[in-house]
Structure formats: structure tokens, C-alpha cells
């Protein structure tokens, strides 16, 4: 199936489904009582993204975007670190990548299959293509902006990302 023939993500997935998946992931992976709240706040000036690609009847990526400081706080929460333990850059990339991976895997499960999931990547988010091939939930975690974007593939899906180091 070519990109032109594939159904856009908006025909396959709605923001409520993305939210319900995040509702399941946040308390189990980020921590007890934690939630991704679908109420947008002002976007940060500087952002970092982690994403995984989905390849199958629908091709694209699931992208998690937030400020670097929010990524650091997410990593601390995922890793359950307490001061004076400090997470390093690799921990942050790894934790954000794993969040994107779990989001991506669960979103893949509600899309037409069979599909395969790529390994997590981190960097500047891939460019979005067709407007109708983007499903985005702008929200917040602990009052900080966080965006989950499910976006169709463009010709250059991985312009500036690097695979999350092990």
C-alpha cells in the first residue's frame, strides 16, 4: 500500500483513544497518582522529542514532546530516583524513549495490522506531513506542557533523531 492509498490517522484514531492509552500508562510507568492531563498549557520555548515509528498498513510515528526540564523530571519519576541521586542525559533519553515506546506500542495495537514498531529515537521531532494525517493531544504533566502526536510518515521521517543509547 502506498502512502497515497493509506487511510490518514484521523480516520483510524481519535484523541480520546490516545488519552485513554496515556491514562493507563502514566500511573503504571510514570508513577502512582501521576496523570497526563489533556489541558494544554503554554508550549515551552525549547523542546525535546522522543518517538517510535510504526510501519504497516499505516506508516508514521508516535512522538512525545516536552521541555528538556520536563523530560528530566519524567525520567526521575520513571526511575523513581530521589535526591541526591541525579539522572544523567542518557537516563533522560532512555526514560523518554521508553515512554514513547510504550505509547507507540499501545497505539499500534489499535491501528490496522500487522505493523511493526521501530526502536525509540530522540531529538527534534520529525516533520509532519498532511494535516489530516496528524492526531495530536496537547496536555500537561505536573503543570508542564507535554504533547503526544501520532503523525503520518513524510519522505524524511528521521531528519535529526538519534537512537536512544542503551
Amino acid at each position: 500500500m502506498t502512502l497515497q492509498e493509506a487511510q490518514p490517522i484521523t480516520a483510524l484514531l481519535d484523541p480520546e483513544t490516545v488519552q485513554s492509552i496515556a491514562d493507563e500508562i502514566w500511573p503504571t510507568l510514570v508513577g502512582d497518582g501521576e496523570a497526563f492531563v489533556p489541558v494544554p498549557v503554554a508550549p515551552p520555548a525549547e523542546v525535546v522529542s522522543a518517538w517510535v515509528t510504526i510501519t504497516g498498513p499505516w506508516n508514521g510515528a508516535v512522538v512525545l514532546t516536552c521541555a528538556p526540564a520536563t523530560a528530566g523530571a519524567l525520567a526521575e519519576s520513571v526511575l523513581m530516583t530521589r535526591p541526591p541521586t541525579v539522572v544523567d542525559d542518557e537516563d533522560v533519553a532512555d526514560a523518554l524513549g521508553e515512554l514513547a515506546n510504550v505509547l507507540g506500542g499501545n497505539i499500534k495495537s489499535v491501528l490496522p495490522g500487522p505493523s511493526s514498531l521501530g526502536l525509540p529515537q530522540i531529538g527534534s521531532a520529525p516533520a509532519t506531513g498532511r494535516l489530516d494525517d496528524v492526531c495530536r493531544v496537547n496536555g500537561q504533566w505536573r503543570g508542564q506542557s507535554l504533547t503526544i502526536t501520532v503523525q503520518g510518515a513524510t519522505e524524511a521521517l528521521h531528519p535529526s533523531g538519534t537512537e536512544v543509547p542503551q
Binding site: 520513571v78 506500542g105 499501545n106
Partner: protein, 131 residues
């Protein structure tokens, strides 16, 4: 009890390992299937054979399914219990992993209770934890 946690995410290795340690397991880690096979080989030399391997599916170098196939092809590792711990939740994937020789399948995200329930099903929990 001994466990080998195989995941390319350090965060996930830490999370799974931490829960298993709470259940009394001695835990080692590997970042992909090939590293895990190497760890099994090294462990064998020192008499350390895991009772359980928790295995992610999508990993670089050697993925979880390839690892399951490799372990099942080795008669010396017949007693090792293999549990997939992965975001892959499609029925076809689960069937494929079980057909290849995995004993159990746990979908991410999961709670400590869900992992405990799987271990209880597999008979891998000490009585004081099962109670």
C-alpha cells in the same frame, strides 16, 4: 531465584529488576538478545543459570523472539522460564512468542501486582510473597 532482565531500555531494566528484587530474585541485566545469550554463557561458566528471563521484544542486534528461539534450541537451557515483557500486544505476536517457546507474556505498561500474578502462575514466587 535468579532472573535475567533483557531490555534495551535501562529504565525498564531498572524497573523490572527492582520489582523482582523485592520478590527475592537475584537479578542480572542484558541490553539485547545477544548480550543475554553471552550472559547465559558466562553465567553457566560460574554456575549462575537463571530461573527466569524477562524479555523485551523490540531490541537492537537480536530481538526478543530471536532470543527465545535461540534459548529453546539449547537443551542445556531447557529449565529456564521465558516471559516476554513488551509493548507488543497484538494477538498474532503473542501466539508467535508462545509458539516459539515463551511461557508467559506480560504487556507494558504493567503493575508490580500484574508481574507478581504472572510469577505466581509460573510457580516462581516464594511462598511468603505469594501469600
Amino acid at each position: 531465584m535468579r532472573a535475567l532482565v533483557i531490555d534495551d531500555s535501562r529504565a525498564m531494566r531498572r524497573i523490572v529488576g527492582s520489582i523482582l528484587k523485592d520478590f527475592g530474585f537475584e537479578v542480572r541485566e542484558a541490553g539485547d538478545g545477544q548480550q543475554a545469550l553471552d550472559a547465559l554463557q558466562e553465567g553457566k561458566a560460574e554456575g549462575w543459570v537463571p530461573d527466569l528471563c524477562c524479555i523485551d521484544w523490540n531490541m537492537p542486534v537480536m530481538d526478543g523472539l530471536q532470543f527465545v528461539v535461540a534459548v529453546r534450541a539449547n537443551p542445556e537451557l531447557r529449565q529456564v522460564t521465558l516471559m516476554m515483557v513488551t509493548t507488543e500486544s497484538e494477538t498474532g505476536r503473542i501466539v508467535k512468542a508462545l509458539a516459539a517457546g515463551a511461557h508467559e507474556y506480560l504487556i507494558k505498561p504493567f503493575t508490580a501486582d500484574a508481574l507478581r500474578d504472572k510469577l505466581a502462575l509460573l510457580g516462581l514466587l516464594p511462598e511468603e510473597v505469594s501469600a
